[in-house]
């Protein structure tokens, strides 16, 4: 697929849409390692980046790909890597580094089944909790999902914008169905795409503190090579960026890193809802499953069952408030997902006991079909 950003309709895979969205967002560096079902993202980047002066590199392993992505970003170049489950596990070490050192970058995980090598060519949603807690230590994270090639394009742009705005790694979770389905994508005109880029320090290098306390908690990191000679480390550090053992400074800095996302969660969280107004049962679905869920809602309505749908497009931070609000009105949430109930845990936390939460799980590499969801809804209404 050639690079064409003239507002045309194109047929492409979700993985290709991801690469196209990244380039539209300003991504000019990609480091990756081959892994099914994400390799088309790396392949598309290797083909399209050189023509626009961008850089691609195939690293020796997933750990290296994550490290190179962070290194490139510190020089001010928007950077991305892409992988699948086993590679996502290996990337966790340096995802934690990016959280701690507050280096913006985008990590795409085209989910396949697990644990371990699992099902390389089949879909799952088994990494949604790993996206939240995969790296060690207390931290916050932003993770997005997409259900189609079109949405993958848009969510990739959004992932970069959130990374640059909040100075943090952002994870985009696709699944094998989304990554490998070829479908229509309307590529907007470049001038219609909102692009966010990280702020530059206003103060002089002499007065510059990379990790100073700010109102938003978001730091302003200068690009390497621009005269601000500061230190970046994964060790607990103070506002100067140098390691510290001062307990007060340690606590202040880690709380700020968590706060900059948690305090701004209302600006990050996003979801779609349909037919929730009079709903008695809510289907909570995300990724490719939400497409089956939409059909299921329509089928339920035809049979007179008042079903509605809540589809988060951002899964971390989680939309607890929205779930709580709907729990006041409905009796039951049905949560179909291609894992053993990973997001159902969060929905249960969200309802605070005010509604029942019922899981519908598939972990055999087969998609969840609309009829299965309808059947589950009928069991509970």
């Amino acid at each position: 697929m050639s690079v064409d950003r003239s507002g045309k309709v194109k047929m492409m895979q979700g993985n290709q849409a991801c690469a196209e969205g990244a380039i539209a967002a300003g991504c000019r560096f990609f480091a990756g390692y081959p892994i099914t079902p994400s390799s088309e993202i790396a392949e598309t980047m290797s083909r399209n980046l050189p023509g626009i002066g961008g850089k691609f590199i195939q690293m020796e392993d997933e750990l290296g790909a994550m490290g190179a992505t962070i290194g490139a970003s510190l020089t001010g170049v928007k950077s991305m890597t892409a992988t699948s489950g086993p590679g996502f596990s290996l990337k966790q070490e340096n995802i934690g580094y990016a959280c701690m050192a507050e280096v913006p970058c985008v990590i795409v995980n085209v989910m396949r089944g697990g644990p371990s090598t699992g099902m390389p060519t089949l879909p799952s949603q088994m990494d949604v909790q790993q996206a939240r807690w995969g790296t060690h230590g207390d931290h916050s994270i932003i993770a997005l999902v997409a259900c189609s090639a079109q949405e993958t394009y848009e969510q990739t742009v959004r992932a970069f914008n959130l990374a640059e705005r909040f100075m943090t790694p952002v994870i985009l979770l696709l699944d094998e169905i989304v990554g490998h389905t070829t479908e229509k994508v309307v590529i907007p005109d470049q001038s219609d795409i909102e692009i966010v880029s990280r702020e530059k320090p206003e103060e002089s290098p002499e007065d510059y503190l990379p990790y100073r306390e700010t109102e938003t908690g978001i730091p302003v990191l200068a690009k390497f090579g621009t005269g601000y000679r500061y230190n970046v480390t994964g060790l607990c550090h103070d506002s100067t960026g140098f390691p510290t053992n001062d307990s007060e400074e340690i606590e202040k800095n880690i709380r700020r890193i968590v706060r900059k996302i948690e305090d701004n969660r209302n600006q990050i969280i996003d979801y779609r809802e349909k037919m929730t107004g009079d709903a008695e049962v809510i289907i909570f679905a995300y990724g490719s499953v939400s497409r089956s869920a939409r059909s299921a809602v329509a089928m339920c309505r035809e049979e007179g069952i008042k079903a509605g749908i809540l589809e988060p497009t951002v899964i971390w931070p989680f939309c607890y408030n929205k779930v709580r609000e709907l729990a006041e009105q409905v009796n039951t949430f049905v949560v179909p997902e291609m894992n053993l109930g990973q997001m159902a845990r969060e929905v249960k936390l969200g309802v605070e006991g005010k509604a029942e939460v019922v899981s519908l799980n598939r972990i055999d590499g087969e998609p969840i079909k609309p009829a299965q969801i309808v059947e589950k809804v009928k069991e509970v209404v």
């Binding site: 000019r28 560096f29 480091a31 050189p50 023509g51 002066g53 850089k55 590199i57 690293m59 020796e60 392993d61 750990l63 290296g64 790909a65 994550m66 490290g67 190179a68 992505t69 962070i70 290194g71 490139a72 970003s73 510190l74 020089t75 001010g76 170049v77 950077s79 070490e93 340096n94 580094y97 390497f224 090579g225 621009t226 005269g227 000679r229 500061y230 230190n231 970046v232 480390t233 994964g234 060790l235 140098f242 390691p243």
Partner: protein
């Protein structure tokens, strides 16, 4: 007298290194080498992994990046590939580069990306308390080899040469002038340039191996390092137990970022 202060972040002193450690000697040699080449501090980046050696960047007033264990080379690769105008120096140790970071080490050398890598070899994991490393000599004791190390050590410089590095040298902190010269040559070289620098660790290595006195370790370096020219004249018996120092490889090979620049020009020209 040479003024080190313009390169030093004095706010981070005193440094963390133990008395008798050679890492400070390398720091000073590196600063003299950088100064001699008139490298801009704003456009220099020092990247390190984890360990005693990897604390070096904290003391140097340039752009500094202290990364995760073994991963200095991938981070540095990202910096250099994304922004090739920056001068990128990597500081690592024997455990960091050849154990947990071993895969990155051979592939960065194979790629021949223009990085200057200083590998501080103290034969031990110093920071974590003296565990065996891939360069601990056979028979030596370590906190995880209380009965003596049964594994053979890596030839770290040889590994880089066979992987494809265009410049490889070995130096030691006893012969300080040579150390500085090797670092300067590595900085000047366009390509993956490694200087393995032998440096004593009296605290974690010497104490367990009858060389607790730092002077003994320095004397060991003095008595057992052989310059390459002299090495050629030694018989196999005479070479036994000795370490060759000096420039071990210096070849012209395509450099990664230059090759990528050509690739961009080729693609854009099509």
């Amino acid at each position: 007298m040479f003024n080190y202060l313009k390169f030093i972040r004095t706010r981070n002193f005193p440094h963390i290194w133990c008395p008798g450690c050679g890492d400070g000697i390398i720091l000073k040699a590196l600063i003299r080498a950088i100064d001699g080449l008139d490298i801009s501090r704003d456009e220099a980046v020092m990247v390190s992994g984890i360990g005693c050696s990897s604390r070096t960047p904290g003391y140097v007033d340039i752009n500094t990046l202290h990364t995760t264990h073994g991963r200095a080379l991938p981070f540095a690769t990202g910096v250099k590939h994304a922004s090739p105008d920056l001068n990128v120096i990597v500081v690592t140790g024997d455990g960091d580069a050849t154990a947990i970071g071993g895969n990155h080490y051979i592939h960065a050398a194979r790629r021949n990306i223009n990085l200057t890598v200083l590998l501080y070899n103290n034969y031990i994991y110093g920071m974590t308390g003296g565990q065996c490393s891939p360069t601990t000599p056979r028979g030596d004791r370590a906190s995880t080899a209380p009965y003596g190390n049964i594994e053979p050590p890596f030839n770290t410089a040889g590994l880089a040469i066979s992987a494809g590095a265009s410049f490889v040298a070995r130096a030691d902190v006893y012969n300080v002038k040579r150390c500085e010269k090797m670092i300067r040559q590595a900085l000047e070289k366009d390509g993956f340039s490694l200087v393995e620098i032998l440096t004593p660790c009296p605290t974690a290595y010497g104490r367990r191996n009858r060389m607790a006195n730092p002077v003994k370790l320095m004397e060991w370096l003095r008595d057992n390092t052989v310059p390459v020219q002299k090495w050629e004249k030694l018989s196999p018996e005479e070479r036994e137990g000795k370490v060759r120092v000096g420039v071990l490889a210096d070849t012209e090979k395509p450099e990664f970022t230059a090759e990528y620049r050509k690739l961009i020009e080729r693609v854009q020209g099509e």
